[in-house]
Symmetry: C2
Subunit: 333 residues, 2 copies
């Protein structure tokens, strides 16, 4: 049974429930179809070929990447239509730039390329085409609840569309793209006037997204499997074999349960970590060590799946309780 299969993994292990990931991806595809905007899924959370295929519905087109390493990885595997969504000053990758679209947010950046001023000059610079306007709406991560998320979605959409009007007034027509998993999970009607959206985290989700209400807790597709490796009754603590390279330090100070949520054990807190150890204590009361024998498995739900995924060189993929494969993400820059 699956308990035996999972028990065979070396821990800490990053686990992906592929059925949940597919369901999350399908829901976003349908939301965008209904809205009538192009979905350009962002790859930065997972950085795998398998998940890119799931998020593009098999089309393998219109993806967004955050690093040149991702760009090269996807280009090497047949992707030929993507945006390198990163504002950078060109000096480092000039010779490869004809491959993909990039971002500009400062006149000096273009000047380094062509020694010309920004704005309408972009559209007129030889060999450079203004393809669109890109906004992230990262302020949704301070929201709680659908109403607040939709207020940010409305405001970002309004500002973006106003800017598109200004461009149009000076004769420039191009695409408009806004992002963030919270806004795209709860789109407002006016977003239909945008060309595309570029969310990314939604394929995995995490505790932060379910706290914001981008998703239900049941939608979170990823976990870190860890083992109890020590009993410390003098400190009323357990030791687990997940240190900060297994879950990341991103969760610091965000949750009463510490650096993660320990699934099925709402009274446990991941208090602190060393490189290869995590210290777990009860939020209140005394630990019953008989419930946590040495070698037993615990399951951590990441606060931010982007931060946790990046720590793992391999993802263990499961479906209906069985291990079905491994995914290998690209890393570096």
């Amino acid at each position: 049974n699956h308990a035996i299969e999972f028990n065979s993994l070396f821990t800490p292990a990053f686990m992906v429930d592929v059925d949940k990931a597919k369901r999350n991806a399908q829901r976003m595809i349908e939301l965008c179809q209904k809205l009538g905007v192009q979905l350009s899924p962002h790859m930065k959370t997972h950085k795998t070929l398998e998940c890119a295929d799931i998020m593009t519905g098999g089309s393998q087109r219109c993806i967004v990447v955050s690093t040149l390493a991702e760009a090269c990885f996807y280009a090497d595997h047949g992707y030929d239509d993507f945006l390198y969504a990163y504002s950078f000053p060109f000096d480092k990758v000039l010779s490869r730039l004809d491959l993909f679209q990039i971002l500009l947010d400062h006149p000096d950046a273009l000047e380094q390329l062509r020694k010309r001023p920004l704005k309408d000059a972009i559209a007129k610079t030889e060999g450079v085409e203004l393809t669109g306007v890109y906004a992230h709406c990262g302020n949704t991560y301070y929201c709680t609840g659908v109403e607040q998320i939709q207020a940010v979605a409305q405001e970002t959409t309004k500002l973006t569309l106003q800017f598109m009007e200004k461009l149009k007034a000076v004769g420039i027509t191009c695409k408009s793209s806004i992002g963030s998993t919270p806004t795209c999970s709860h789109p407002v009607k006016d977003m239909a006037q945008l060309s595309e959206v570029h969310p990314g985290n939604y394929v995995f989700f995490d505790v932060q997204q379910s706290t914001i209400r981008s998703c239900c807790p049941e939608d979170v597709a990823v976990r870190v499997l860890t083992r109890v490796i020590g009993h410390c009754p003098h400190r009323n603590q357990l030791l687990i074999d997940c240190g900060w390279p297994g879950i990341s330090l991103d969760g610091a100070g965000k949750l009463p349960t510490g650096y993660a949520v320990i699934e099925g054990h709402p009274n446990l807190k991941l208090l602190s970590m060393t490189q290869e150890h995590g210290r777990v204590e009860p939020i209140s009361g005394q630990l019953d060590y008989s419930k946590y024998p040495l070698g037993s498995l615990l399951t951590l739900i990441p606060v931010r799946s982007c931060a946790t995924a990046v720590m793992h060189p391999v993802y263990h993929v499961h479906s209906k309780g069985r291990l079905v494969g491994k995914w290998t993400p690209t890393r570096g820059w």
Copy 2:
């Protein structure tokens, strides 16, 4: 010249000054020779073959590892004498355990192996040999200055030697090993009575170690090279291309300069990061943007080199200002 060579690197890039690393390693070898204890260097900070060779003085013997991935990596490359310095309950790697020494800190762990009680039973269990007693003295990381470090070294040594006496009294003779880069960088005389020491970070050092006074700031052998990618005068900030996967979140709240020290710019603070951006602002006053043109390089000194190194799939190695190679660490568990 080296400025042009370094400018060719994609950033963020993890940089190792191999001359400093060799000097740090040689100094520790000499300290241990003088003291008359075996040096068993810990591999967890760098996880590379090249640095293991430097730290063992080319002997490629007596190393300490923190993960099974490291153990396999070094075993695959000819290392046959190492300690897996990790207390774990055996269920996960039982079939491979004959390869190396492991740690026990609980009777249940041994019981899972042999269903027998701990202590003198270890020495008598068939196929199991008690090779030594291992202590880390991680409390040195709360020290400042050589005097405090040596007080911890003295106390740890005293307690360890007292425990060895108790073992001897019941007929058990075995090795004693204490660790931590601070104590081994400033050993006390009584440490000569131990069998070995197992520091690891010293080959790289970092801001934390120089703050503790394990080393001088000039001894820190690693950096993260990053580029200025944005000017944000409305926030009095620079953007750099180093987010949390480039430097780690480990430095949070430890330094007035934020998540790192920005070399040569003591008034700059790495305030916060997203996945691929760092926000830099002056500790006081207004930024002079002409000093930080788009595309220019800045150099970050990591607060904790263990935490920063683990984020990078490749290390760029330089000597006397020239790039001389790349090291590829092992990752995972």
